[in-house]
């Protein structure tokens, strides 16, 4: 730490680097946006008094009032459709969908209005809203509480889709998404909500719509996002012990995809494994595989492999460990890629 000088006040400022869970980082990020812009409002089921079933909005209604943190009636189409109206009226709504599997009653509004109003009005109307979705499995839940529906939205023109994987990104990405003039689907890895990490609250680590290399390596590239980032990093650590060097890229943005760092990496490693919880058919992982083979054809020493959830409904929770990609399945794919 530098010694205090006249021009560097040290007194009141809160610690710039804090250790937070993803859940708390999101809460702090929402709070920062609400403080910075009175037009930012939070709406959803149980987000007020309860603070959301995951407590992501804890304390916000108490501090910002019932007109900025709305416990809405129980209807997702209503939440999203009214947020559209508020957005074109000048507000910046942040909608919470309680669980991934409950976004579908709102699907029509998302695809037909949220995504298309800007286009339909030749840009006269902007829809700057964020739809927060806790997503993915691994929490032992009943049906419809563990899904990974992100590909539906990445497939829809007019929407931007991001997924955070760590507290620093959670804190900054939510604020950047709220600042974005396009509608953003914001996916949060619910089973990682209580994982901790350092958050530097003085400066954003980078732009929102950019992927990031979290670990460099030379043998195989792993590309992933959301809850599978932790799994992939663990796999890379385990592989290192066996003498294999894996590069891990966190996509962060699923639409638009930022694949330049992936191409650059694959040109060096010659091998790519894509890891997602979402099923594989017609998905984000399909899109990555297609683009990488197109851009890196002569560099590839093995086909692009995918480790994903299966193309089935999410199973009852006693089977979720079989369904979810784990360290073994990632390393198995790495072995296959290297053995090609």
């Amino acid at each position: 730490m530098a010694a205090p000088t006249m021009d560097r006040p040290t007194s009141a400022a809160p610690a710039a680097v804090q250790t937070l869970t993803i859940a708390k980082a999101l809460n702090n990020g929402l709070r920062a946006s609400m403080e910075a812009n009175p037009k930012v409002i939070v709406m959803g089921e149980d987000v007020g008094k309860l603070g959301g079933v995951f407590r992501i909005t804890d304390g916000l209604q108490k501090d910002f009032g019932e007109q900025r943190v709305l416990d809405t009636p129980l209807a997702e189409s209503g939440i999203i459709g009214t947020a559209v109206g508020l957005a074109i009226r000048g507000y910046r709504p942040v909608c919470e969908i309680q669980f991934d599997g409950f976004i579908f009653p709102g699907f029509d509004q998302i695809v037909s209005q949220v995504a298309k109003l800007h286009f339909r009005t030749q840009g006269r109307l902007k829809v700057p809203m964020v739809i927060r979705v806790p997503f993915g499995g691994g929490i032992g839940a009943v049906e419809h509480h563990s899904e990974s529906p992100e590909s539906y939205f990445a497939h829809t023109a007019g929407l931007k889709v991001v997924a955070c994987s760590n507290p620093a990104d959670a804190y900054w990405m939510i604020q950047q998404a709220i600042d974005c003039d396009d509608p953003v689907l914001f996916f949060e890895p619910k089973r990682r909500y209580y994982e901790k990490g350092e958050v530097d609250t003085t400066a954003a680590p980078g732009p929102l719509f950019a992927s990031r290399t979290l670990r460099t390596g030379t043998d195989v590239t792993l590309v992933t996002y959301g809850p599978m980032v932790r799994t992939s990093l663990d796999a890379a650590a385990a592989a290192e012990e066996e003498g294999r060097s894996l590069e891990v890229i966190d996509l962060r943005t699923l639409s638009p995809l930022d694949l330049a760092p992936v191409y650059e990496s694959v040109r060096r490693t010659g091998r790519l494994v894509v890891v997602t919880e979402a099923p594989s058919e017609s998905s984000i992982s399909s899109e990555i595989a297609a683009k990488v083979q197109q851009e890196c054809f002569y560099s590839l020493q093995a086909p692009v492999l995918r480790v994903t959830g299966f193309d089935t409904p999410y199973p009852p929770s006693k089977l979720e460990e079989e369904f979810l990609p784990d360290l073994d399945r990632v390393l198995h794919a790495v072995d296959r890629s290297l053995a090609w």
Binding site: E45, D46, G48, K49, L50, G51, V53, D71, T72, P73, L74, A75, S77, G78, G101, F102, F104, P105, G140, A141, V142, E143, H144, H145, E281, F310, D311, T312, P313, P315, P316, S317, K318, L319, E320, E322, F323, D328, R329, H332
Partner: protein, 397 residues
């Protein structure tokens, strides 16, 4: 609270409201979804166990029948408490308590006839009981071994539906089918009943269900358990108007019954099902009740409601009033109550044993029954998975 004259009774012969015009302030004051309902609330057994008469919905009940309803309620409450305890011991991932809603469910469930069809949401353990689904068959959903194992056709009890409101449209369609099949129009006809909560009444699916059932004259009883809460949100977050009054806007009768009164619920539901059977459906019943426990075992109600409220509702307990009445009428003696307790204890033991011995499903189950006609792409994926899995079993890794 809402005065009797403000709302015309929406019973079988209800005419549109034309009575004295309330002032704007009165209207707003009266439009509270959580008001007790005043004279509109159909009640046959008071919380003190007094039998009261009702002009439209009376019922002749024998001691034997009332003992049966009492037994049902005690047993389902015991199942509920045992399952809740199993969750606390880590044997279930989650449990959705029905505590406090026993009368609403047993009253409605015992009004059904074998040919009727029922669509539950996820809290209808009491309805499951009346449809002959064994309590043990509910456990897999909450332990995570399956999504419900009962045969919906055999029991005429649809799978639990967790996505709020979805089942209401499915029930409307089923009831339309009963009508199209000519099963409606006489005393032995068929009817459908559909369960949902106060929160669910905000979902588009529920409103669309009202519209469909109405325009097709479907034999459908919409049974809304207004337990005052949708997780942390009180019913006034969903409606200005008492929920049963919504029915009129869709063109069918809506009735509010004391959902903690098993006799009233039985009488009103039986009447509604008979009307539907005869071709006079649909009908909305709002059972005014209370969720006495948390929303689920994951929920902490102390964050959003006062314990005073619970204490007040405890005075209206659905089981206690029946017990008092049985004793007053000398319809039951100590031996009867003890035998029901013993039976409850036995069911609890069976539930525990079954639960802790419930085997994990085989991994390949993930891929089964996704399609009725199969899917070769998925079958290839399954085979690859099974080969990979077998590699582990053989100790390759």
């Amino acid at each position: 609270m809402s005065s009797p004259e403000k709302w015309t009774h929406p019973g079988p012969d209800a005419a549109p409201a034309t009575a004295a015009k309330p002032t704007a302030e009165q209207v707003i004051a009266g439009l509270r979804a959580t008001d007790e309902g005043g004279a509109d609330l159909v009640q046959l057994l008071t919380p003190e166990g007094e039998r009261v008469q009702h002009p439209d919905f009376d019922i002749d009940i024998t001691g034997e029948e009332l003992r049966g309803l009492y037994r049902d309620m005690v047993l389902v409450r015991r199942v509920d408490r045992e399952a809740n305890a199993l969750q606390r011991k880590g044997e279930l991932g989650i449990w959705v308590p029905l505590l406090g809603q026993e009368a609403a469910q047993i009253g409605a469930g015992r009004a059904l006839r074998p040919q009727d069809m029922a669509f539950p949401s996820y809290r209808e353990h009491g309805i499951a009981w009346t449809r002959g689904v064994k309590p043990t068959e509910l456990l897999g959903i909450f332990r995570g071994t399956d999504n419900g194992t009962w045969d919906p056709v055999e029991h005429r009890f649809h799978p639990y539906t967790i996505v709020i409101g979805n089942q209401v449209l499915n029930a409307a369609g089923y009831a339309m089918g009963q009508k199209f099949d000519g099963k409606v129009g006489d005393a032995d006809g068929e009817a459908t009943i559909c369960f949902f909560g106060d929160g669910a009444t905000s979902q588009g699916d529920v409103h669309e269900g009202f519209v469909w059932a109405a325009v097709y004259d479907a034999p459908l009883v919409f049974f809304c358990q207004n337990n005052q809460w949708a997780i942390s949100e009180p019913t006034e977050r969903q409606s200005r108007l008492p929920l049963y009054q919504r029915a009129r806007g869709y063109g069918f009768p809506g009735i509010r019954v004391d959902g903690n009164d098993v006799l009233a619920t039985l009488a009103v539901t039986r009447w509604a099902l008979e009307e539907c059977r005869q071709g006079n459906g649909p009908i909305l019943i709002e059972a005014f009740t209370y969720r006495m426990d948390a929303h689920t075992t994951s929920d902490d109600p102390s964050r959003y409601r006062l314990s005073d409220e619970l204490e007040l509702w405890k005075l209206k307990d659905p089981i206690e009033r029946v017990k008092v009445h049985l004793v007053k009428q000398q319809w039951a003696d100590q031996a009867f109550f003890e035998s029901v307790e013993a039976e409850a204890e036995q069911i609890a033991i069976e539930l525990r044993d079954y639960c802790v011995n419930l085997p994990d499903p085989p991994a390949g189950r993930i891929f089964s029954e996704v399609y009725a006609e199969g899917n070769p792409v998925l079958e290839a994926q399954r085979d690859e998975f099974l080969a990979y899995h077998a590699g582990f079993a053989g100790g390759e890794h």
